[in-house]
């Protein structure tokens, strides 16, 4: 499977997407489904263009998208600089793991929207709340992936470095971290997916700007084409982030291919 040329299945993907589009066009153009429930593809495309030009509920499409991306980006940044070291410490020192693991496993299964009200009570409905919420959603998978990557490092590799004269810090950052990097990046990819969906959901509840807010407002006003257009934009951004991280994975963890 690995050696198959990339894109060799592009045909089937295109066929599936094409048929869906055709079906969508057929049921809307024939009037089978009212545009109030599902506008046609042409109308949606027009709406996306219009959103980009004129915006919706007080902000342009770019401003909505930028607001959402900034929240995720900020939370991601904080998570990277805290969850990766925390995961490293958990993987390296059983004591740290014993201290942090129960905490993480306790809150991880709770849906972020369930504790959103509590964060709102504590921090209000401003930006801080949303960033904290996404940060918490990202922290757990990233720390867990890092810790398990650290635990899987080949002990001989650490011994080799020790016998070459590596200090503790050098072992951590020149051997353990790069060894665990593929797992960390996979964790980051999963975490980003979780973060993005958490964010959009949070914006449905409490925001004055952002893609989730835009979709929610449109739905209350029954502007179905904005709802659909917003969902498509959300999906496209998620896809773009995913592809970006896969690129980063190939660049920094490509060596696992022959492992």
């Amino acid at each position: 499977m690995d050696s198959e040329p990339r894109g060799s299945h592009a045909g089937s993907s295109a066929l599936m997407l094409g048929s869906l589009l055709a079906l969508w066009w057929a049921v809307t153009a024939s009037g089978l489904i009212s545009p109030l429930f599902l506008p046609g593809p042409g109308q949606i495309l027009g709406r996306v263009v219009d959103l980009a030009r004129h915006g919706f509920v007080g902000a342009s499409l770019w401003q909505h998208a930028a607001a959402s991306l900034a929240r995720v980006g900020l939370a991601m940044l904080f998570a990277v600089i805290t969850a990766i070291p925390a995961g490293m410490a958990m993987g390296l020192f059983p004591r740290v793991n014993a201290a942090l693991d129960p905490l993480i496993e306790f809150y991880r299964p709770v849906p972020p929207l369930a504790y959103l009200p509590l964060i709102v009570i504590w921090f209000g409905i401003g930006e801080v709340t949303k960033v904290i919420l996404i940060y918490m959603a990202i922290f757990a998978p990233l720390a867990i992936a890092t810790a398990s990557g650290v635990r899987r490092v080949d002990p001989d590799r650490i011994r080799a470095a020790r016998s070459l004269g590596a200090s503790r810090d050098q072992i951590a950052w020149l051997v353990v971290f790069p060894s665990a990097l593929p797992d960390i990046l996979t964790g980051l990819r999963i975490a980003l997916g979780v973060g993005w969906s958490t964010l959009v959901a949070a914006e449905l509840v409490a925001a004055t700007r952002g893609l989730g807010f835009m979709v929610q407002s449109a739905s209350q006003m029954l502007v179905t084409d904005v709802v659909v257009a917003g969902i498509l934009v959300i999906a496209f951004i998620a896809l773009a982030l995913e592809l970006l991280l896969r690129r980063i994975e190939r660049r920094f963890a490509g060596w696992t291919a022959g492992r």
Binding site: R159, A160, R162, L164, G165, P178, W255, R259
Partner: protein, 265 residues
Amino acid sequence: MAVLSAKGAGVVYRSARGPVEALSPVTLDVGQGEIVIALGASGCGKSTLLNMFAGFVAPTSGQIVVDDRPVTGPGPDRAVVFQDDALMPWLSALENVAFGLRLRGMGKAERLERARALLDEVGLGAFGGHRISEMSGGMRQRVGLARALAVKPDFLLMDEPLGALDELNRERMQVLLLQVWQATGKGIFLITHSIEEALFLATELVLLSPRPGRIVRRYHPGFARRFLAGEPIRSVRSDPDFLAMREELTLAILASEEEAEAHGQ
């Protein structure tokens, strides 16, 4: 000339099912300019002995010393070559060889130059830029050897370094190892399952009994020096002395295993 010694050094591991005596107290010297080889059944404690020399495992009785200084942990005076290369796959072959120099803070240009010379020495001069995942097992072992040599150790500790290689590659690596040994005069401690390999390389060969290992025989084969003095390898390895010693060793191994079985019952 430094000497790495085990002085009555033995290991009892603590495991969940109680203490496991992995190695009875062993007394053994590895001098610089010697190749000491340990031969013995699987599980008899060979790796344990090597790990003590390396400083990865502390003896639970006796001690390990270099001259008169006790060994308390691993260090670049005793570089290790592993059976499963234990290289850093995200680095190129060249950067792997330079890894130990980087740990000491040597500048990039200087360490890569030194690494290049070492890769040349192990016959991989043209492969410096290759990724480890693109290299064969034999090439990886050469990189591992060059990486160990880079830190200028007094001793090389090798745990079945050629165990995973096919016969021809194995012999090539044996020859390379002897050449490196001749050129550098390192003290080498090497573990192998192959009687022929042990006989061909060793200046001193110790036979360990089945678990818990103890030294039951010591031999001093001189075939490595004969090969280095110019005798062709085929002639060395088919020499009647070589073949006779091989038979003797085989019998000694069988005898020590039978004895262990008798004890076990």
